[in-house]
Symmetry: C2
Subunit: 407 residues, 2 copies
């Protein structure tokens, strides 16, 4: 008998029928003899509705009171789902975050889990009950309710799975797994049966929005076996784990693209120590997150530094740099947001130096210009013109997934 | 500086404007230097909406999960009200029932308060914060959320006032006080500035639905000064306390009527001991609540026993008695629900034997027949035909409140 933690997002519990569907998925595993702990989000638009109510009263209400308000959304979900399971005749109990022993720091609105006291959950599992948890919330040291911040909603499920030493953590989303490329845009994209944590991390950060990085990092750290799957189909999903058998035969797991990117280039910097430090500590102090950084030798012994940021940060980054022109001492600054990042990810590529070359070949054959290249142990990213991005993903995907016969 | 506990019902916090109005009422007292603890109900129809959601999923969901669900309604109210007070620039904090230290028994759906640990509330008051409490809920010995049952929603406010030794407990309702009779039906009905606990108890049980008996009983027991007032007017309400100055000059505080009543009469019972015991223990075992009981000598040495029950219990009471005809041994049973109970209440009447006579005189003058009379130290009740009830209240009210010059 295994212990399985499942997590369902807001769209999976949006109405009575969907809640019944979730109840069926949960009880199917329970009937097989597994111990079940389930984390639910708030129903569909509940959180937005509550935010709207708050806005009407006070657009700048404290985060502490917002958490008091928003935590109710999940509490409604867990109660309703428990009732659906009761109606099917199974033993079940719902637990709020604090009842489930979730303790967080005091960062209202975006708290982080500090520890989980699993005593209550264990006791309920011992009574052979299905346990439904409002996991997106916890209690801080003041005994106040906190929420874990929108968007990181898989993290509590993974944290619970880690704390309970669960055998598997199943994340139900609206996609049915991790694909070699975004199936909405790329012909021939196919679902992976397995992927490593590191590959998943790279894919997530490259714009494949299946799992949030924080939850994958946590899964990797505590060695929690993840599975991403859909609550609307009855298909196996994609397993995310430390080591995968190279069933895929390809050294590449997926191709991803990220259009939310802008590039800044500082041209004609003095060739002296400390320049990079000055630039990036300035940006960090101003909360601008930098992604790819490239430094190259420029003309006449000077050097150039290029880097990418999110589109929304472009103007601010430019302003900061220009305000500090005297300190940094550059000749000119070039800025564009008409670019996209296209990347291949694969744990296998580290031992296969031909992988990057194959990617570049695909782009060359398609007449797509590469603006910038960045590589890591399991990833190759290129910047291309925004207009070329979709085609770039397709030709790269074609190259790898027909080359290695996995199509 | 006094400590004031205020309680606002669901209609007082139904929308953003009403919540702002409540925030104004609270902060007005706070600005005068009072410490403020405020108990709020769920917004308007929230509870009904949540019940509907539950019904759709499971019409027989457990009470434990219903409490998990319904407690969110109040949590939304307290968060929103706190934000409204924040917007006005005051220090405020919301507390769920369990954060406020409310501990209850395990009667899910209709729990009773066992004790209140006021430590957290005290600490927040010491920080000069207004404290907004979801008081209609608590935690039982399993650390599960319980709700205190619909309808008894003033009780937690009174309990909090008692636990905090508050100087005053203000109950805001949709009426602005306690009246000498229901002002919707009786011409000349006027608001009382003060009334005793006992009078309030009698009036409440007689159908004047201003405060619930449980909360008045608790206020009497712990000597909590109550005030009933409206959140929609800016007028002083009615104070409920142990002893009142007889400012009203009348020995009668109010006239009430109750149409939800049926009368059963057992005719021709044997004149032997134990009959009454048999009848009323039978009814009690079957959960039939009996109100007025009258026993009279019948014809030929036999006796009659009449009693009243709520309309909904009439048929069951009749059935029980007929099934046990052999044991009870009566000649016939007479049943009617075309009656109403009209009562006068006043702590002063005990020393004024003329009060009952004055009431009967009013009815006689109006040609209204009295079916049954019952008296207590501070109350005289009569049963009249249902069709005469409204007129009976009016003529009795006219008699007392013009006689004693208080109109």
């Amino acid at each position: 008998m295994s212990l399985i933690v499942q997590k369902f997002g807001g769209s999976s519990v949006a109405d009575a029928d969907k809640i019944r569907n979730v109840a069926r998925i949960i009880t199917e595993q329970y009937r097989k003899g597994h111990s079940m702990v389930v984390v639910l989000s708030a129903q569909g638009d509940t959180t937005d509705d509550l935010i709207e109510k708050a806005q009407e009263i006070n657009p700048r209400g404290s985060k502490r009171e917002m958490d008091m308000l928003l935590s109710t959304g999940e509490q409604i979900s867990i109660a309703l789902c428990s009732m659906a399971i009761e109606a099917m005749g199974y033993q079940v109990i719902s637990l709020t975050g604090w009842q489930a022993g979730m303790r967080t720091d005091s960062g209202y609105g975006a708290a982080r889990i500090k520890n989980i006291n699993t005593e209550r959950i264990r006791a309920e599992l011992d009574k052979n009950r299905i346990v439904i948890v409002a996991g997106f919330q916890g209690l801080n040291k003041y005994d106040d309710i906190t929420t874990l911040g929108r968007g990181g909603s898989d993290t509590p499920a993974v944290a619970l799975a880690a704390a309970l030493h669960a055998d598997l953590c199943q994340i139900y989303t609206d996609v049915d797994g991790v694909y070699t490329a975004d199936p909405r845009f790329v012909t021939g994209a196919r679902k992976l049966s397995e992927i490593t944590y590191d590959e998943m991390l790279e894919l997530a950060s490259l714009g494949a929005q299946v799992l949030h990085n924080r939850s994958v990092e946590m899964a990797k750290r505590y060695n929690v076996n993840l599975e991403v799957l859909s609550s609307f189909t009855n298909q196996p999903g994609t397993k995310v784990k430390e080591v995968v058998k190279n069933m895929e035969k390809s050294h590449v797991s997926g191709v991803a693209k990220d259009k939310d990117i802008a590039r800044l280039a500082l041209v004609g910097l003095a060739h002296e120590p400390g320049i990079a430090f000055k630039i990036f500590s300035l940006l960090a102090r101003n909360k601008v997150n930098v992604d790819i950084i490239l430094q190259s030798i420029g003309r006449e012994g000077s050097k150039d530094i290029s880097f990418t940021v999110k589109k929304a940060d472009m103007e601010q980054a430019q302003k900061i740099l220009e305000e500090n022109r005297d300190i940094i001492n550059f000749q000119s600054i070039e800025v564009t947001d008409k670019i996209a990042k296209v990347s291949i990810v694969g744990a296998g590529m580290i031992n296969n130096p031909g992988v990057a070359a194959t990617m570049f070949e695909a782009l060359f054959d398609a007449g797509i210009n590469i603006n910038m290249i960045s590589t890591s142990e399991i990833k190759v990213s290129v910047l291309v013109d925004e207009n070329d991005a979709d085609r770039a993903v397709q030709v790269i995907h074609d190259k790898f997934f027909s080359l290695y016969g996995a199509g």
